[in-house]
Symmetry: C2
C-alpha cells in the first residue's frame, strides 16, 4: 500500500486537457502522482540519460556515475519512475536494463498542453 503501482496514469491520458474543464479530484490525484515522479531533478536526468543512451536503454551501472549519487539512491529513483509507468525494467542476466515507456511522456504532455495543438 506504500507506493501502489499506478501504471494507468501515464500510459493512458487520464482526462481532458486540464484547461478545458475543472479536473475532478480523482483525475487530479492521478495526474499529481505522475507529475510527482517527474518533479525531481535527478529523476529528470535519469529519464533523459536512459533515452539518450544507445539502444534507448541503460543499466544502473551506466547511470550511477553521471548523476553522482549512490547506487541505492539511483535504484530508488528508477523504481519510482517504473512505478509511475514512465520506465520499464528488463533484467537480463546480472544487469537490469531500463527504457522509456513509449507514449508515457507524451501522454503527460498532452494533458498539460492545449493551445499547442493545431
Amino acid at each position: 500500500m506504500t507506493t501502489a503501482l499506478h501504471t494507468t496514469a501515464a500510459t493512458q491520458a487520464c482526462c481532458a486537457p486540464l484547461v478545458a474543464a475543472p479536473l475532478d479530484p480523482q483525475d487530479a490525484e492521478a495526474l499529481a502522482r505522475t507529475l510527482k515522479a517527474l518533479a525531481d531533478p535527478t529523476r529528470l536526468r535519469l529519464l533523459s540519460l536512459v533515452a539518450a543512451h544507445e539502444g534507448g536503454e541503460a543499466c544502473v551501472c551506466d547511470l550511477t556515475d553521471p548523476v553522482g549519487l549512490s547506487q541505492p539512491t539511483v535504484s530508488h529513483h528508477l523504481k519510482v519512475l517504473v512505478d509511475a509507468g514512465l520506465l520499464t525494467r528488463d533484467k537480463r542476466g546480472v544487469w537490469a536494463y531500463y527504457a522509456l515507456v513509449p507514449g508515457a511522456l507524451d501522454a503527460v504532455a498532452a494533458v498539460l498542453g492545449t493551445q499547442l495543438r493545431r
Copy 2:
C-alpha cells in the same frame, strides 16, 4: 531566499525536449521546480478551475469552496503557482484575480513531449 521567484522556468522552454540529449543539472533543477509546483492535486484543480472560470480568471473566494480547503491554504497554493510562473495575480480592489500565464503549460508540455510533434 526561501522560495526565490523563478519566472523563467515555465514561460520560456528551458531546454531541448528531454529525450533528445541528457539534461544538464541546471536545466533539470529548473524543470523540476516547475513540475513540483504542478505535482499536487489541489494545485492542478486550482489551475483548471481558474482556466475554466468565466473570463479565464477567478478570485480566491471562487476557489476556496470547490477545493474544500481553508482560505489560507488556497492562498498558499496560488502563491506557489504564481511563483512558478504558471499563474498571474491581478489585485483589483479588494479581490485578487488569478489567471493562467498564456504559454506556460504548453512550454512544460513541449519539453516533456517529443514524438507528439509532427
